[in-house]
């Protein structure tokens, strides 16, 4: 990325994008590619938002927040030529679930090997596992069509909308009876109920159910979590479903590649300066006001911030009607996750007696039983972080040694639950942070007995920190929960799923819009394409 200044060079642009997260950058790149003069304003000294790599400990590059990629749309990679700008994704080939006093379960790229692993726990599960994968890929193909297009607007009578709905309905109809039924279940059931129709054994069940709760304030037995499961199943790298990967150099490299692509189209990016408000006159956005009081004007203003921040913090009171404001207030953020990043002197020894580190190259999910996750959720319900949390761990340095000095490692632990609203009040997180970090390391110690001996330094991030650092309201990792009532044509709120807002010439392009959270670039791309087709910029 070319160096950035914190002062725009011009006083007026075709479009200003607020926030330099990956969606803001993707949106800007598409607008730049169409010949528009675009300015991106990022509050932090680095771009990336939740998709950022930072050298937090000297020599160790952490993917501070988001740590694995799967949903990033391949066509965006092609259209913006991101590999040329430094984006490279390495596939993760294994999933390891440690189990106390056991070898645990590893699922490998090699199907036969996976079957033999699962057989140790349940021959039945082992034999049905491939069928489950097939059913999920059929379902995700249905959902994939949803995430690659703007959300259908069911209340509209416009022929284009009707055709779109019909198309989806047709696909739905083309599913055979079983599949249709399966899809409906997925939309309404809990992750555990859904999975129990297929599988019977632990640790397979809890390991799989785990993806149903990521980023939500729900338990594995809460209805609706089955859909989140699918959202995570949709991951596709190279057109193959259910494939996750690491970005070389950490997740931030994706954002940097987007930034470089944007710059190559003439987009200007300023960093280290925030937007304090959106300048609105007569119900129409005219530009922005920076933290330092400077004003910059634009034909179109696009916010990549979450709906709460955009509409309740950046827009002067009274500019929006109260119905709309009320629905934004109802929009659920409820942050429930934290992150602990460790700099390690060497690779810790995992209990379970497996040789080598091949099984650690992918992710490590610690959720030995369903009850374990439920208990973790119970504590959160009553305003405490889980003492024994659900952990999703990756050691990216095993695949991409460039993120740590030779022989040393980076361990990233995504932790649930860490409710934003703790009993003591969110503002008391700083006093709880250390204890939270210790609880996580204690839990890691259960399957990595020498973790503390390997520890050089750590970074503990609570949902309160997430909010403070990158502005995600209540630290919700997806700019709003991925629950059914907040998806597709309901995201962020009914009637406003097409990136437009009640304010003329103010648009949205972040994860708070369709198709939602994750490092996928889709909201940024779809919003830019919508604006261009509507000649809004």
């Amino acid at each position: 990325m070319n160096p950035t200044a914190s002062k725009p060079t011009k006083s007026s642009y075709d479009a200003i994008v607020i926030g330099g997260g990956h969606n803001g950058l993707v949106c800007a790149a598409y607008l730049g590619r169409a010949g528009k003069k675009v300015l991106v304003v990022e509050k932090r000294p680095v771009v990336g938002g939740a998709a950022v790599s930072e050298e937090v400990v000297p020599g160790f590059t952490f993917s501070v927040f988001s740590y694995v990629v799967s949903l990033f749309r391949p066509h965006i990679i092609r259209e913006l030529d991101l590999p040329r700008h430094g984006m490279q994704i390495l596939p993760m080939e294994t999933t390891y679930n440690p189990v106390p006093d056991d070898r645990g379960l590893v699922r490998w790229g090699d199907a036969a090997r996976t079957r033999r692993e699962i057989e140790r726990f349940s021959p039945n599960d082992a034999s049905i596992y491939p069928e489950f994968g097939l059913a999920m890929s059929r379902l995700s193909r249905f959902t994939k069509n949803i995430i690659d297009t703007t959300a259908p607007e069911p209340a509209s009578l416009h022929p284009k909308e009707l055709i779109k709905l019909l198309k989806l309905a047709k696909q739905f109809k083309d599913f055979d009876g079983d599949m249709r039924y399966l899809n409906l279940k997925l939309m309404t059931m809990s992750a555990v109920d859904f999975l129990e129709e297929w599988f019977e054994s632990e640790p397979l069940l809890p390991a799989m159910a785990g993806s149903g709760i990521i980023g939500t304030f729900m338990g594995v037995r809460s209805p609706g979590t089955a859909y989140v499961l699918l959202h995570h199943y949709m991951g596709e790298i190279d057109g193959a479903y259910r494939a996750w990967g690491f970005a070389k150099g950490g997740t931030g490299q994706i954002s940097l590649a987007c930034a470089r692509a944007a710059q190559s189209f003439g987009v200007e990016i300023v960093t280290d300066v925030g937007v304090s408000s959106i300048d609105i006159a007569n119900g129409r956005a005219r530009g922005i006001v920076l933290d330092n009081g400077d004003q910059v004007s634009a034909k179109t203003v696009i916010s990549s911030l979450d709906p709460n921040r955009t509409f309740l913090k950046l827009i002067p009171e009274g500019q929006l009607d109260s119905d709309f404001t009320a629905s934004i207030r109802r929009y659920k953020n409820r942050g429930s996750s934290g992150k602990v990043n460790l700099a390690l002197d060497r690779l810790p020894t995992f209990a379970g007696g497996r040789e080598g580190d091949h099984h650690l190259r992918g992710d490590v999910t610690y959720a030995p039983t369903i009850d374990y996750i439920e208990k973790a959720y119970d504590e959160a319900k009553y305003g405490q972080f889980s003492r024994n949390p659900f952990l999703n761990i990756v050691i990216p340095s095993l695949n991409d040694p460039s993120v740590a000095p030779p022989g040393k490692h980076v361990l990233s632990a995504f932790v649930q639950y860490a409710p934003y609203n703790i009993r003591e009040g969110a503002e008391n997180w700083p006093q709880q942070r250390d204890a939270f970090g210790e609880a996580v390391i204690d839990t890691i110690e259960e399957f990595c007995p020498d973790i503390r001996d390997c520890l050089i330094d750590k970074q503990v991030i609570s949902p309160w920190d997430i909010e403070r650092m990158i502005g995600l309201t209540e630290g919700n990792i997806f700019q709003g929960e991925l629950s059914l009532e907040q998806l597709a044509f309901l995201r962020p709120v009914a009637g406003w799923s097409r990136y437009q807002t009640p304010i003329d010439q103010l648009w949205m392009c972040g994860s708070g819009t369709h198709p939602g959270g994750g490092v996928m670039g889709a909201p940024g791309e779809l919003s830019a394409k919508t604006m261009l087709s509507k000649k809004a910029v």
Binding site: I77, L90, G109, I237, P401
Partner: protein, 396 residues
Amino acid sequence: MPIESPFHARTSQLCTSMRWKDWAGYFAVCSYEPCHEQEYFAYRHAAGLMDATPLFKYTVSGADAGRLLSRVMTRDITKLRVGRVTYCCWCDDAGKIMDDGTVSRLDDDVYRVTAAEPTLHWLRLNARRYQVAIEDVTTKYGILALQGPLSRGILGHVCGRAVTDLRFFRLTQTTIDRRPVTITRTGYTGDLGYEVWCDSADALPVYDAITEAGQNYRLMPAGLDALDVARVEAGFVMNGVDYHSSNHCLIESRKSTPYELGLGWTVQLDRDPFIGQSKLREEKQRGSQWSFVGLDYDWVAFERLFARHDLPPQTPHGAWRDPLPVFDRTGRQVGQATSGAWSPTLKKNLALASVKRSHAAEGRELLIEATVEFERTRTPVTVSAPMFFDPERKRG
């Protein structure tokens, strides 16, 4: 029956997949793991170590060595300075390509040549008037290709500055574990990388020293399947796949020239006579009939081929090399794609092809044959330069 390379004791232990093939009469690993994917990513993200011993190797020495090689090669080798390597090809009298490879100048009068095919006879045949000694050293040396962005760190660990300062297409003579080696900054992956030559007798200690240093850099042994994907991304032609050596062709139309293969840049015409010169000069003036191009599949159309059968798009699993016809918009055949691969890095479905020059302009839309669910169809591709992936670190 193929023979074992001097690294076989190590590679055979590591090749748990048991996937081998015959490469120029040697056992060569296709992929060490059941699938080549991680090995491909080692080349692009960390480092991969490949046994490249089966390449044919010749030492050409003596007062006229440079002159002989200049006569045989498309390049003026007399201009090659000591310590440098060059890539070139060689042709028959009709200017048709026979093979391609590298020439290294080790000393004033000492050169080394690598080739994909036995070339001793051709070199000797043309050496009659010269004062040279030509030795086939194919079995005398082992070659390890260490390729990938972290290869410099690994070799730096083993041999220090001599290697970390080594520039693109240069060579250095140094030691690894006290054994003499020649290291060239060359390779077939289109990435940062090196090739290490050692005496066959020293093969194992050299292999061990590199693998040990590689431990902290995520070095992986890597096989030919991964290499094949990388070389398609890099747009490198392969003898026997993208073209055929003129002395193996039964019919004229199978032969090609350097210009037709995009290797015109290796042809230095204006100098003392060399084999094929007059024909190549004519071709240069007249213009070639064929061009070597990259083809980039239109993804949306490709996806649609599968959607028609209610299938998700299926990309080729590894690199392919069964040729496919290429057509213009009217359906007339204008060439053939000779190899291709899905690029995991670029997220593009790619092919390398020879097409009529009239249809080779970059950006031109052509059609390529595709078979989906036993149904043969055509799908659009866009012509591009063959070098799809060219990271700065390769030269930097």
